[in-house]
Symmetry: D2
Subunit: 137 residues, 4 copies
């Protein structure tokens, strides 16, 4: 069983450039957080689309590691994003991630993204991941 | 407030060719059912993809009518389906539908589809609907 | 090299319930046709969404068989449809299918759907197929 | 008629943080380019997914401005990405963008993304944009 602490350390080591923080993992899901500052904004004071999609992608990766063990051998094959509301530029983005299927070759999950403090989702993402066949040692 | 009975009658009148049955509606969602027989199967004894996608599409339409009133003035603009597991050819298909956003021009929702009696989803669908601007009288 | 005639015969044998006709196949793509009659219509005299999605799904399957050989061992894993314009209820639906990637485990393709005689697409579909590992004898 | 030069200047003014460069625009499409350096890479020496999705999103926005005039009043509502091949970390990313429909309320387009010098697409994106109703002065 991978703990939240182990997963956060693994993510920091393998993906040093990500700003996504692991809040919890387990039970076929994960909860992640991304602080929002100048770099994440676009004109109008809202969070840019690529930031939202990146949070979802990393969040699903974290959920996958929680389910199958620490691995770098999954690759995103499809990411479908629906943008629902303008996120606040002054609140962290929270990603609630849930795996829909953990198959032998494909893993599929969904993410609801929120601005912290508002329970209406700002975006919804479905992602598909291919298992490449090698386990992280 | 549209009742389940009103919605079932409206669906039967406006879409006489659909086999989808309304089980419940309200609270920003709906639950629908589709009986499975020879016409819904494909080789291998499983339910065909177009049947699954049709159940989700009608289910989201039902959820929309439950949220905004009886209307024929919405049109599906996007339907994204992930096929997760082979549905049984001997169980009804159940669709659990939930609206993610009811906007002025777009409505977005998701559906988890199940073979009755198995709680692992056979497919997951996200749909977008455009409001055409006319209300049903 | 699979010919159009071989593929049409294979489709009729393996999927006897489909009404999709193979017009051409090869070069990493296919062109298919579906006649439109009462069964394909919905209120308003237009073609139903599930029919359009079914044509695209079969068309991509035909293109795949043209590329990798006659096989029943592929399964649709994702189908993303954008509905662009109301199809005529009085014209055949034509599907122009093109494979984007033929990988070892996944095959991805896109389809533009037209009402015959009008060169503006009525829908656009992207589909992903998993190769299950067994070849048709 | 919006020229490529006008569009490049408009993009630089309205989205000063984007690194996307406009190569050409017109005829219902656009071609854009994104240089790849350390910031765009992820472990393994390939281009990160959010960079690819961002190039497609900006490219479709450019194509839209070419079709309907310079405007900031469109919002991405859906972005569906299929990742096809690992992009090279040493080549620019090129986006070939084509609009599928320019409607009164929705605009839909597709993008094929390439590593410069290789004609096999690294990703394929379909995007939907809502027109918010205000024109840029």
């Amino acid at each position: 069983m991978t703990t939240t602490r182990e997963l956060a350390a693994f993510l920091a080591q393998e993906f040093p450039q990500t700003k996504v923080m692991v809040e919890s993992v387990g039970g076929g899901g994960a909860r992640v957080r991304h602080a929002i500052g100048f770099d994440e904004l676009r004109p109008g004071g809202t969070v840019s689309g690529p930031v939202l999609m990146g949070v979802a992608d990393v969040g699903l990766y974290v959920a996958i590691c929680g389910a199958v063990g620490l691995t770098t051998d999954v690759a995103t094959t499809n990411l479908t994003t629906n943008f629902l509301r303008m996120p606040s530029g002054e609140a962290d983005i929270i990603g609630d991630c849930r795996l829909l299927k953990v198959g032998r070759t494909l893993i599929i999950g969904e993410v609801s993204l929120f601005s912290e403090g508002d329970d209406r989702p700002v975006a919804h993402v479905v992602g598909t991941y291919a298992r490449l066949g090698r386990q992280h040692p």
